[in-house]
């Protein structure tokens, strides 16, 4: 054991200075102290590297978008193609970055990605001729694909399936959006939209038949009732 004569306290340490006042310690007796706490130097290097990599990609993303924007403006031919580039970069972050974060519920992530992709493709459609393919075909068919994936999750991950119930409800509600598009006469090819709505109706039937009690409990939980 060592002693600090300034502080008049004993110090159990291998250090040579008093942790309180910094004055040199006096060794009294011979005992060597075992290490009390880990040496902290080897800490979380991996995480910092990961962040650095993300920073590099973030910088490249911004640089690419800016450069394209300037080239687009300087050589303006009536087509804002740089928006497509910037949108594409944002979508890649959405598709690749979100899963890497691993903080989000898988299904919420799927829904976010679906909406992101839909907005992006609508933008491309508008810029290149406004032919209406995005609303006519991509929106409803992408919806059907994501709905199938979510239903599969509910079936496969039975243990945690109450986690996915709420997303199934959200998907069912989203499924009726073509009604609005049809009402405003935005779309002219109807069969994909009808398919999507049929899926939404099936989803609701399925929820009621298989998960009614679960759904009730889940809603009570989320509402803290």
């Amino acid at each position: 054991m060592k002693k600090c004569l300034e502080c008049n306290v004993w110090v159990n340490t291998n250090a040579i200075r008093c942790p309180l006042c910094g004055v040199g310690l006096n060794q009294l007796g011979q005992s060597e102290t075992t290490l009390l706490y880990p040496s902290y130097s080897k800490n979380r290097h991996g995480k910092r590297k990961m962040n650095f990599l993300a920073k590099i990609f973030f910088f490249i993303s911004i640089a690419a978008s800016l450069i394209c924007f300037f080239v687009n403006v300087l050589t303006w031919n009536g087509l804002p193609w740089s928006l497509v580039v910037a949108g594409g970069i944002i979508i890649s972050w959405l598709l690749v970055g979100l899963p890497l974060l691993k903080t989000m519920n898988l299904n919420f992530m799927l829904i976010d990605q679906m909406i992101g992709v839909q907005i992006y493709l609508y933008l491309i459609d508008r810029i290149f001729g406004n032919k209406g393919w995005s609303l006519n075909y991509v929106y409803p068919l992408l919806y059907v694909a994501v709905a199938i994936v979510i239903v599969l999750f509910v079936i496969i991950y039975r243990i945690a399936w109450h986690d996915y119930l709420i997303t199934a409800v959200i998907m069912a509600v989203i499924g009726f959006y073509p009604l609005i598009l049809i009402a405003f006469g935005v779309i002219d090819v109807l069969w994909p939209s009808y398919t999507a709505m049929m899926f939404a109706v099936l989803l609701i039937c399925g929820l009621f038949i298989f998960g009614r009690d679960k759904l009730k409990k889940e809603i009570r939980k989320r509402m803290n009732l």
Binding site: N8, Y37, Y40, K221, N224
Partner: protein, 422 residues
Amino acid sequence: MKKEDTWFELDTAAKLYPAIMSPKQASVFRLSCTLTDPVDPEMLQTALYVTIQRYPSFNVRLKRGVFWNYFEPNTNHPTVSEETAYPCQMLDASKNNDFLFQVTWFGKRINLEIFHVIADATGGIEFLKTLVFYYLSLQGKVVATQGLIRTLETKIDPEETENSFVRYYDPKIVTSRAEEKAFHYSGSSLPFQHSRLIHGLISTEDLLDKVHAYHATVTEYLTAVLIKAYFNASESLIKSEDIVKISVPINLRAIFPSRTVRNFSFYMNIGEKYQQKDDRFESLLRKVSEQMKEQLQREKILARMNPNVSFEKNAAIRAVPLDVKLAVIRQVHQMIGEDLFTCSLSNIGVIGIPDSMRPFIARFDFGLSTSDKIPVNCSVCSYKGIVSITFSSSIKETTLEKEFFRFLAKDGLQVTIETSEG
């Protein structure tokens, strides 16, 4: 009822923590138990598997509801790991199998770090005691609970997971909690997510003799010493009208009987205006004692804790969506929450361990996390004749700790210092 159907509301005190948690304000505390032999990680892991079955309120993940957060049974398994990070840092549940506590080991020591949202220190100690009990049993040691350890043989009383704040709620007893702002200590910060613990070990017997001579209690005495240490340590920072206020947690179970292992503590702020150095310690201690006796009255505590329960019971406030609530709580906490005290001094007292386990356990330590406004905190526990006083800090300066322990030494107590910095 099936496992996945059970869920818990956050208790009254816990509702604060998801809102304010950040790497700079972890709201984490650490309870450590030093054994007489090096820890066997595999046995510790097995002991943890068993222990978690006994504490459903620890076996949870935090979820977001529409109006409040809630707990849901965690289907993952908690794991133990060797201690590598700095003590009392923010617990990232997503990297911890969604658990809101963490068990680590280093040498002979088992550390239990808990995010305050699931339990207070009294609840945490119960968990740690059970963990160590099963660990020792698995090692083949002949240990008995002697009624002091909650094991799987003792039935889980629903009271253990209740929100006791609500049980003792009385909407008629309320008072204003407006208080003067307190002095804030500061220094040069340690790097991000670094922290330092300094333990001071004193003989329990000597300390009791000392405080009895002053006609005070241990908490009163240490609080007065801490205020004095602040006066001495911050002479250049402090103004004569500044008040040093120590926030002393009260274990409500002592006043309002409850077996809950979740949060059931409140606090009292004990303050004293800055005085010159040569003022007598006895008079300071007397003032501290008086304030504590006054604030520890049952009615006074109820009147100050009831507004929290009214807040959560208010239908209009309930209807506000979670994110808005969290943002408001965060703002209010930033503006006034921590302004009212200089630091905490949390004394969980003597840790009751069955005689059969005592030969295998050398020591207990208790540590708190810090924040930007409160860079130093103090915590105390006692076991087997040793009082362990721990200062956790996120600043480089050790002036406060130095003044505190020098005062104890000058007052005739033999102090042994240990630190997390080797």
